[in-house]
Symmetry: C2
Subunit: 356 residues, 2 copies
C-alpha cells in the first residue's frame, strides 16, 4: 500500500534525494568509494559543500554579504548560540509556540530576554499582533512557523532592530526577502535534508558583537571563516540536502514551490472548513501552509481514535496531533505530493459520510 | 581497480554498514518508508536508538552507572562541553597533539587549565611520561590516540583524579576498562559511523558539578535525562553506527578486533622498520595501531612525491601525511581489511626494490 507521509519531522523527502544518496553510499562522485568513507578535506566533498552553499544562496536569493553555514547540533543548539554571539544586554523574543519558548528560555542565561508578546493565553493558536519591539534590544527573534501549533508568519516583517528568524519548518517553502533579516537558521529535517544538519544564514557583520568570550565551536566567526569546515561536518546530511536543492531548482525554485504549497494547504483547509465533523485549531489569518492542525468538533470528539485507525488503514502516516494540541496534524512539507493531500481529504470525506 | 581506503577520517566502514544503510534509505524497519523520513519519536527509531546504546554498552562492557549518549556537533563541541559541565576552577590536560591542544585551549575559558605535560618539543612524536597530575584539579583530560602524529595511549591509566578521554580515533579498537574513566567521548567517523554523530560515555554522577549556569543543549544532564532525544538526533548516522556495532559483534567483539588490529599494525610497522628507504616518525613504545606515520629517510626524501603517485596507481587512497608531519600516514581503522595493509606493504617493497 502506498504510504502518505505527513510526519512533522524528520519528514518526507523527494524520491530524487533518496535515490541519489543511496547511490552515493556505494559510489560517491566517481571515487569508487562511499560518500560515508571519504575525507571531508578531499576535493570531491569540498565541491559538494561549495555547491550546496551556492545553490542554497541561489534558490533563496541570498545577498553577497551573507554566509551560509551547515553545522551540527540542531536548531536547539542555535537557541544558545544566538544570544552567546549577539546579545550583550537585551534581546526581544516573540513567543509563538514551544520552540520559540525554548529559544527565549536560553536567551535568559545571557541577559534581559524580553518577551515582546506571547500567544500562550490561547494555546499558541494565533500570532500576536500590535506589539512593540523595544528599540534598545540588540535583536528581535521570531519563529516563523510553529510546527506543533500550525501557525506561521508567512511574510518578511519590518523590524526596527536586527531581525533573527528560526525557519526550521518553513525554509525553502516560499521566497524570502533575506535582507530583512540579519540571521535565519533552522534544523534541516523538514524541507531540506535528513536530521543531522542545521543551516545558518548570517550577515557577515554579525560577528564580534559581544564582549564575552565565546567557545570556539559556538562562535559564528569560526564557522564563517572556515566555510563550515572547522571540524568534520555532517557530510551525508549535507550531500542529501544538495540533492533536495537540485530537485527544488528543477521544479522551478521557491516561487513555484510556494504555488504548489498553497494549493496543497488550500485543498486541506477547504476540506476542514467545509466539514461537518472537523474543525481547524488556529486563527485563519495565521494558518501555516506547512503544518495543518485540526480536531473533531465537540460532538464528534469520541471518534478521533476511530478516524486515526481509518486513516492509517488508508496509508496515512504521521497525522496524530502533538499532545499539546490533540486531534490531528498533517505536515505538508515541500516534498509531500499533492496526491497525498488529496488522499487525506478523500479519507476525511469518506469518514464524514459514514458518521455525519 | 580495488581501492584501499587509508583515509584518516571520515574513513573506511564495513561493507555491511554500507549495504544496510543503503537498504534503509528505501525501506526502514519494514515501515515502507525511508530511514531519512521517519519520526525520531516513532517506535522504530526509538528501538534503533535503544539497541545502539545497548550494543555499545555490551561491546565495551560499560558498567550500569554510565550513560551512553549520541549527540550532534562533533568531538570539537565536547572540547567546551567538558569544562562547561565539569570544571569549576582547575583542570589538567595532557597535550599530545593537535586535538589535545584544542581541547586544552577551550578549557582555558573556564578556569585554570593546567598543561600537565606536552610533547610539542618533538612535534608530538611521543607520549610524555613521568608527569605529575595535580591532585586539586577537577579532572585529567587525555587524548588516547593522536590521529595526526600516530601516537597512542593504548592502556587504561590510573589517575588520582577523574579521568576523561577523547577516544575519537581508537574507540572500539580494543577492550577498555571503562571504570577507570568518568567520561569518554569522540567523533564517530573513524571506527563507528559516518560523520555527524558524537558518542559520549559518562558516569551518571558527573552532573551538577559546577556552579555556573549551563545552556540546555550543552548540559550533559539534558541528554542523559532524555536518552539523547531532547532534540532530533542525527538518526542516519546512529543507524549506520548500529550496523557497524553488529558487524563488530559478529566478528567477535573488541578483543578479537584488537588482535586483528595488532596484526595489521605489526605488518606495516615491520615493513617500515625493515625498510631501507622508509622510517617511522614516532617513538616505538608509543606507536598508534590506528594511524601509522612514516616518512622517507633523508637521502630518499625527494622520492616522496613519486611514491605517492606510485601508491595511488596501485589503488592506495588517503596515505598522504598531515602537513604537520609530512610524508605518509596510513590509517588502519577497524574496518580496513588486512589485505589492504598487505597491498600497501607490497607497494612499499616494490618501490624500494626499484629505488634502493
Amino acid at each position: 500500500m502506498k504510504k502518505h507521509n505527513f510526519n512533522a519531522g524528520p519528514s518526507v523527502l523527494p524520491q530524487y534525494t533518496l535515490e541519489e544518496t543511496a547511490k552515493a553510499i556505494f559510489d560517491y562522485a566517481g571515487t569508487g568509494m562511499s560518500l560515508l568513507e571519504v575525507s571531508h578535506r578531499g576535493k570531491e566533498f569540498e565541491a559538494t559543500m561549495s555547491e550546496t552553499v551556492q545553490m542554497f544562496k541561489e534558490l533563496l536569493n541570498i545577498p553577497e554579504n551573507y554566509s551560509v553555514l551547515f553545522l551540527g547540533g540542531g536548531a536547539s543548539l542555535q537557541f544558545c548560540m544566538v544570544p552567546y554571539n549577539l546579545m550583550n544586554k537585551k534581546a526581544a523574543y516573540l513567543v509563538t509556540g514551544e520552540w520559540a519558548t525554548k529559544a527565549h528560555k536560553e536567551a535568559k542565561l545571557f541577559g534581559e530576554a524580553v518577551e515582546v508578546a506571547s500567544s500562550k493565553d490561547k494555546n499558541f493558536s494565533y500570532i500576536p499582533k500590535n506589539y512593540v519591539i523595544p528599540q534598545d534590544a540588540e535583536y528581535f527573534h521570531i519563529t516563523t512557523n510553529n510546527t506543533i501549533y500550525g501557525t506561521e508568519i508567512r511574510y518578511d516583517m519590518d523590524s526596527p532592530i536586527p531581525l533573527i528568524a528560526d525557519m526550521s519548518s518553513d525554509i525553502l517553502s516560499r521566497p524570502v526577502d533575506i535582507s530583512k533579516y540579519v540571521m535565519i537558521y533552522g534544523g534541516a529535517q523538514k524541507n531540506f535534508a535528513p536530521a543531522g544538519v542545521t543551516f545558518v544564514i548570517i550577515r557577515n557583520d554579525m560577528i564580534n558583537k559581544v564582549s564575552r568570550q565565546i567557545p570556539t565551536m559556538l562562535n559564528y566567526e569560526t564557522h564563517i571563516k572556515n566555510n563550515s569546515m572547522f571540524n568534520t561536518p555532517p557530510c551525508f546530511a549535507i550531500f542529501a540536502g544538495l540533492q533536495t536543492l537540485k530537485w527544488l531548482k528543477n521544479l522551478g525554485g521557491v516561487a513555484e514551490m510556494e504555488k504548489i504549497n498553497l494549493k496543497k494547504a488550500n485543498l486541506l483547509y477547504d476540506a476542514i472548513d467545509n466539514s461537518k465533523i472537523f474543525v481547524g485549531t488556529t486563527a485563519k489569518e495565521d494558518r501555516s501552509i506547512m503544518n495543518v492542525c485540526f480536531v473533531m468538533k465537540e460532538q464528534y470528539k469520541p471518534l478521533e481514535e476511530e478516524f486515526s485507525k481509518f486513516a492509517s488503514s488508508k496509508g496515512m502516516v504521521g497525522i496524530k496531533g502533538h499532545r499539546s494540541v490533540g486531534g490531528f496534524r498533517a505536515s505538508l512539507y515541500n516534498a509531500l505530493p499533492l496526491e497525498s493531500v488529496q488522499a487525506l481529504v478523500d479519507c476525511m470525506n469518506e469518514f464524514e459520510k459514514m458518521k455525519a
